[in-house]
Each structure stands twice: as structure tokens, then as C-alpha cells.
Amino acid sequence: MDPTDVSDPRYYHKVVDCQWACPAHTNVPAYIRLIAQGRYSESYLLNRASNVFPGVLGRTCDRPCEPACRRGRIDEKPVAICRLKRVAADLRDDIEPFLPKAPEQKNGKRIALIGAGPASLTVANDLLPLGYTVTIFEKNREPGGLMRINIPSFRLPAQVLDDECGYIINMGAEMRYGAAVTSLAAVLDEGFDAVFVGSGAPKGKDLDIPGRHDDPAHVHIGIDWLANVHFEHIKKIEPRVIIIGVGNTAMDCCRSAKRLGATDVKVVARRGRQHFKASPWELEDAEEEQVEIIENHAPKRMVVENGTLVGMEFDVLDWTEDASGKQTSRVLRTETIPCDAVILAIGQDNAFPWIERDLGLEFNKWDMPVVDSETHQSTNPKVFFGGDAAWGPKNIIWAVAHGHAAAISIDLFCQGEDVTKRPPQGMNLLSVKNGLHSWAYDNGFDASGRQVMRHEDLTKRFRDMKVEVELGFSAEQVATEVSRCLNCDIQTQFNAPKCIECDACIDVCPTACLTITKAQSSEAELRKHLTVPATNADQDIYHSSPLPQTERLMVKDEDVCLHCGLCAERCPTAAWEMQLFDLLQPKAGATCHEEVPATV
């Protein structure tokens, strides 16, 4: 068996579950440590280096990091990573002096960004400091895209968004507000060196059932309705509202409806709860506000009497699953739920009526542009796509990740280089040993449970759309929550030639991660021969080169390592060491450079 190659940054990167799961690879443990030390501004800047919108994402992120969090495998509840991000954003000082600045001397390349949402703004954020001239086309009068018009302000106050969009725009982006692009050819004709399409997936799906168009004034498309609420074109809604669909847009719709006068709000889903697309915490928040969630109801028709919507008829379904996991449904009965208005929140589509089909830009059979998944380049080499515009609706953090990748491509393209030659990831490993039994990080294990977010009183929060529901963590909650983080970026590094096979590390490991055992025919076989067999195939195992005295292997199952450092403390020869892993993410304009060095 070949020893595990830990010189590949991906090995240690994968150990940092949160950072691995984050599309933008935010350095979560490092920013949590900075919060623990009260260094909020540094924490914010470290966040911003990868996710660009810490304040926005600290409130609205889909949090792919949290289900991945190792803590969730130790005591079931992950660290409240997302809301700690908000702590850094809320408590930061003025960080503007530390932001990158655009040089006076431009590099002569002009880039057009279509849509001022998270993807385009990320591209601008990465390219402006390199001397690019950036022009952003935005159909609305304010930047932010869906972050502004589709996320209600009781979840995301406008000021937070203004600040974070401002940091980018103030570097000198040319903003063309109120300029809905109606022709890509016209944009290209302006002589831009590259165009980035970050226009989102702006078309809400409709539901073609009988009665849909019989009372159009009372049937709304979710994201359009949310936009109208944002622009205050809509200021109230009827008392009884049905929301169709159960994604996060549906959650925003039902909670907005409660604030616009609805008293009886029901969210109706075709399937059972385990299939809901909405994040569990958004469902919880909606239910806290007395929104009723109804499962297994398929829309059949809208009941309109005398031109007025009076209810909706549903087939009540019973779902069964066969051995292969295929779901089939059977209609139990039909049921009518009375209502005065319906909001359809069943998904979004892309729409590119403004892209001419003779620009060398291919579309596939779903009428989506053909875009390279790594370079974000379309078949017209000057045109790049990112965010929801590229491959359909995802979420903000994915749009940011796309923006970074596209910025690298645009930079390579404009410099005449091959966009497929991507700059590699790198890493730094730095010992965190301060002395005998003294580490540069807090290695103790805090058994506290996950902190629960404080919410505004139910009696107060409905007075105004703008009353933010989540109040953020208290100082005591922050202190507890930061100490729940296991510091997975402080890596256990093994040096086989130094090992004397005294078993000290194995004996002291609290979570039975380590084994010294004979080599096996394969890694799969080795997994079965450990102190506790490594059954979580998503988690890597490390195996060393043969040990000097017996030629057995040191094996570590990464699954539930607490990164407490006891193996290294009990190692008499420093064969085990604790080292801070710092992932060096490639960025536009440099192969590998850190904006803020990670610290412990």
C-alpha cells in the first residue's frame, strides 16, 4: 500500500469539512478563532476574502458547511457557523482602509458584467484591483440582484447589503442602473474585452391548472411578488393565502404575507416533509410565525366563483416507495382549501430572450447556454456565465464561487493565456506548538450544545416588513459557540520514521481514531481492521509508510478526530505534530496569494 499523499492540499482540505463543503472554501475555523479572540474585523476580512458578502451570507446562506461540520458527527448539532459569520460582520469596525483598492493606472481591458447580483459583484471585486475597467448593467436602480429584491428585509436589512455592495462598487465600477440589457450583441458592440453574464434565473415558474387565469389579480408568481413587495408596489394581501411549493422562496413568501395582513397562511407541498427543499431552519422560522405547512397535496384546480378566487382544490396523495427507491403516488381523495390569494413558489427558470442566437454562443436542448463547468466560458470565448444564469438556480454562496472562478478565466483570457490552465491550489502548514503542552490554539473540548438564535418577539416582528427577526447571538452565546468549533484546520501530521510504536497516541485518543496495524491488500480492507472500523466512506483514512520497528502502518480515521492534540502531546518523539493548515486558494491575477493570512 502506498502511504497517503498529504502533500496534495486536497487531503488536509477535505479534513476541514466546513471549508471543503463551502463552494467558496471559506476558512471557517480560522475566522471562528478570530471571533473568539475578539478580532472581529480580521475575521470579517478573512471571510470576505473568499465569500465577499459576510454580512449577507451570515443571515441568508444556505449553509452547506453546517451539515458537513464534524461537530455534527460528535454530538449531533453542528457549530452555528453561519450565524457566527454574522457576529464578525455585526461587530466589525470600519474595515474600508483594509479593502483592496483599484490602481489609478488601468490595464486597458474593459469588462461588462450583466446584472449586479452576487456573481457579477464577485467578478468586479476580483478584477477591479487588477486594473480592469468594469461596467455593470443592472435593470433596477440598486445593486444586489436577488439578494435585494427577493430576500425580504426582515431577514436581510438593506443597510447590510448596501455596505457590502458598496465596498465593491466604490472601488470604481461603472454602474449602469435602470439599464436592462435587451441585446448581448449591443453590449459586445461596445467593444468590451469580455462579458460576464450574471443575470440570475429571473423567471418564476407558472402552474398550468384549470382556473389559473380566471382571477389573475389574486394569483401571484413568488419571486415577482416578492420583488413587488420590495418595491412597495404591493403593500397588502388578502387574509387567507395559499403558497404552492416548499422551497426557500415559499418560506419568504409565506412570512412576507403574514406581514402584509394575511392571517391564515398555508404552505402546500406535493410531497412529504423529508423531500422539502426549504432549509430546515427556514421551515422552523415559518412555523414559529404560525404558518401552516400541509404535506402530500397536489394542486388540481383553482376554484373561482363569479370571477373571484375562493379556494384551491388538491388531490391528497399517498406516496409509496419501491425497493429501488422510486416514489409513486396514489390519490386518496380531493380536498378544497378556501383562500383569497395564491402565491406560486415552485421554482425559477433562466430566460435569455436578450441573447441573439447568431453570436457563436451555443444553447443546449433545454435552451440553456453551453458553459464550461470549470472555466465558465461559453462557446463565444468572450462571454462567460456564472451564478444562477450559468446552470440554473443555486444560492448566493455558489454565485460567489462562480464569480471567483470566472474572474480567473476572464483575467487569463484578457492576458492572452489559456483559460483551461487553472492556477493550482496550494497550502501552508505551520507548527502550532508553543512549548511543552502549550499550543497556539485552544485544544480543550467544550461539551456545550449549539446555541439557539434569539428572535424578535412575535408581537413586535409583524409591525413592519423591516423589523429583522433574528437578533444575533448574545456575547455569552458567541463565547460558547466559538468554543464548540473543533479547529479541524489544526491538522495532525505524522512522520513515520520518528515513530517508536509505543502506542501512546492510540491509548490517549478520546475518539479511537488511531490504529497501528499490518498493511492490507487495499484501503477498503484496511478500514475493517481499525480500533473502530472506519465505516464512514465519505471520510478519508490516513495510512503511513511502514513504521521503523515492525513495518506495521499508523492509520488514522479522520471521521471523528477532535483535533485535541493529545496524540501529539503524548508522542515522545514528535512523530505526531499539530500543524495549522492554510489553504491557498487561487485568485484572479495571482497564482496563489492570500489577502489575509490565516492566524490561530
Binding site: T511, V560, L562, R570
Partner: protein, 359 residues
């Protein structure tokens, strides 16, 4: 020392024994021994053996004297009884505890200094009495607590860290124990839990004194080139003379570690020894003329190994007919501590009638 106590978090898929306890429940306090000390591995082996045997922690008593080895009783089974006694006097205190409460599993931990120098007489008499206990000698050849002087188990020719050579012959606790009538003698190595844990399980289950000599390197003062008790030297010279497997009474008897064929091809050397608790020990000597149930054969074989510079390890001798102190004294089957005072002390009238018999 460590900077923190061992985190309370455990592996989520940790197994439980028949008492519903995980192996973590058999741990004790954090060790303050040097990092890499063999004693910590012996501790871990005891933890594992006790967990596998499902020993009720409240039915165990941990006994020790003085020395690095004697600290280790604090590092396992924190819910058990314990007595940290005077230097070399652990066997007496352990004998008292075992005499008073025959229901206890007495686990005595000592070292080569504690047992082979100041406590040598105590050790031999405890063996002679056949006190019902596990007696572990954590043997590293030096006095670690006083910075590494040679102990009584240091081999001739072994070198100290600064080059001084030992010229006095060692006391081998295994040969000593055999010669004073020990009924269970084993030797193992702290760095080989696969061998050590089954020996400890059999030793705990043995009725009488089970002596287990464990080569347990002193990583600070006796783990250098020239030492004969280092990790490297022990691994190079360790000859597994007897392979042992302990099968508790509740487990179905099936050949697990020991097949019908031994590693050196002797097909007929498997011996099954029934212990008093109903469990069985399966022994396979790796030499055809060595019978680990025969005292003379064991003595001869181990001496021969010693002459060749080999360290014979394994469950080297077991006497299945062992009679412990309680058997010899025919004490009541109810532990003395559980007897009523009037039964334990029949009073002056009974004493007078006893005295009359001698007049």
C-alpha cells in the same frame, strides 16, 4: 502531563460490553507519566481487558506501592477501589484486601524497583500465599522517578544513558516466581497489546496470584541504544514462547486466534486449560518440548531462552489446580466483610473453649 483532560466526547460507534459500559468507562485520570511511557500502554491494556471481561468497576480494587508504575492505578477504572501503599508493601495490603473480601478483583500494579528490590520479600510471600490477585510488574530496568539508575532487573551489559554498564546479574521475576511456587506466570511487552490483553484477561480470571511481568520501556531514561529494555531491543529479542487466548465461560468455544496449526507447524501443541471461573485458556507453545502446564519444563525453557539472549514471552506457566489463600485456609464462601460481627468474632466463651483444648 497533558495540557487538557481527555475530552469526554467518544467515538459514536463505540461498542458496549454486557454491563452496558464502553471502554471509556474503564478509564481513570489523565496520566502524568512521561509521554511514551510503556506504563501508559499497560494501563490501556488493563482497561481493555477489564472492559472485555465486563468487570464490574465497583468489584475491583487497585493496589500499588511507590514508583512510576505505582502511579498507574490512578489512570484506570476511576470508579473502582484503590490503595496506594508504602514502597514495596503493596502485596501485604493487597493480601489483606483479598483476605477480607474474596469477592473483589484485586489488581496490584508494581514495578521492578518496588517488587524486586525493596519489596522482594513481600512479592515472594504473596506468591507463596497464592493471594487471589493480578500482580503486574511494569518492568523497565531503571528507577525512573529518581532519574534512571539501574534497578534489580537490569541485564548484565545493559548501558545507562550516559554509558555506564551494568555488571550485576538481574533478578528475573518470571524464574523467581516459578521457583517459589507461582500458579500463573506470564511475560509480555507493553508495545504488544495483542499478546498482553489476553494474558491479562486470563490472569484476572485465574484463582490465585497471577504474576505478569511486562517489559515496559522507560522512554526517558532507558530507551536508548545499549539498553536491553528499550522498545527496539525488546522487539528484536522478544520470542513468543507461548501463544495464549482466553475464552470466558459465556462465549462459545471456537478457535479464534489459535488455529489447529501453529505458526511453526507443530500441530499437537495446543493445550486447553480450564480455569476455576469456567473460562478456558488455550495455550500453544511454539516449541514441541515445552509444556506450559509443567513447572519444570517452563523453567527449563525460559532459562534456555535467557541463555540465548532471548526474552521468552507469553503465558509461560499455568497451574490449573491452583489453590488460592482462601482455598488453603478453607475460609467461608461469604466474604469476611459480609459476615455479621457475631459470626466473625464468636466471643470470649468460644475463645475460652478453644483455649481449653490446648490445656
Amino acid at each position: 502531563m497533558t495540557s487538557i483532560a481527555k475530552p469526554i466526547a467518544t467515538h459514536p460507534r463505540l461498542k458496549t460490553n454486557s454491563l452496558g459500559l464502553t471502554i471509556r468507562d474503564y478509564e481513570g485520570g489523565m496520566s502524568t507519566l512521561c509521554a511514551g511511557c510503556g506504563h501508559d500502554s499497560v494501563t490501556a491494556a488493563i482497561v481493555q481487558a477489564a472492559w472485555e471481561l465486563a468487570l464490574p468497576p465497583h468489584r475491583a480494587a487497585k493496589m500499588s506501592g511507590i514508583g512510576c508504575s505505582s502511579k498507574t492505578t490512578a489512570y484506570f477504572m476511576k470508579q473502582s477501589h484503590g490503595f496506594n501503599s508504602v514502597h514495596g508493601r503493596m502485596p501485604s495490603v493487597a493480601s489483606g484486601a483479598a483476605a477480607a473480601n474474596r469477592g473483589l478483583n484485586v489488581i496490584g500494579i508494581s514495578g521492578d524497583g518496588d517488587s524486586l528490590s525493596i519489596g522482594l520479600g513481600q512479592l515472594t510471600h504473596a506468591i507463596r500465599r497464592n493471594t487471589n490477585m493480578l500482580y503486574v510488574i511494569e518492568n523497565n530496568g531503571v528507577y525512573g522517578l529518581t532519574k534512571g539508575q539501574f534497578s534489580a532487573s537490569a541485564d548484565i551489559g545493559s548501558k545507562l544513558k550516559k554509558g555506564e554498564t551494568n555488571e550485576q546479574p538481574p533478578i528475573d521475576p518470571v524464574l523467581l516466581a516459578l521457583s517459589v511456587g507461582a500458579t500463573f506466570v506470564g511475560r509480555s511487552f507493553s508495545g504488544d497489546k495483542q499478546q498482553l490483553v489476553p494474558i491479562l484477561k486470563a490472569a484476572i480470571s485465574h484463582r490465585g496470584l497471577a504474576l505478569v511481568d511486562v517489559i515496559s520501556p522507560c522512554v526517558t531514561f532507558n530507551n536508548h541504544e545499549g539498553s536491553t529494555k528499550s522498545y527496539q531491543y525488546t522487539r528484536d529479542h522478544d520470542v513468543a514462547a507461548v501463544e495464549a487466548d482466553y475464552i470466558p465461560v459465556c462465549d462459545p468455544i471456537e478457535i479464534t486466534g489459535l488455529g489447529a496449526q501453529s505458526s511453526n507447524g507443530h500441530a499437537d501443541s495446543l493445550r486447553v486449560v480450564q480455569l476455576h471461573d469456567g473460562g478456558t485458556v488455550r495455550l500453544r507453545s511454539t516449541s514441541p518440548d515445552y509444556d506450559p502446564t509443567d513447572r519444570a519444563s517452563a523453567h527449563q525453557h525460559i532459562s534456555a531462552c535467557q541463555r540465548r539472549g532471548e526474552i521468552a514471552t507469553g503465558l509461560l506457566f499455568v497451574d490449573s489446580g491452583s489453590r488460592s489463600l482462601h482455598d488453603v485456609l478453607r475460609t467461608s464462601s461469604t466474604p469476611l466483610v459480609d459476615l455479621r460481627h457475631e459470626d466473625l468474632c464468636p466471643g470470649s466463651a468460644a475463645l475460652d473453649s478453644l483455649m481449653k483444648r490446648f490445656r
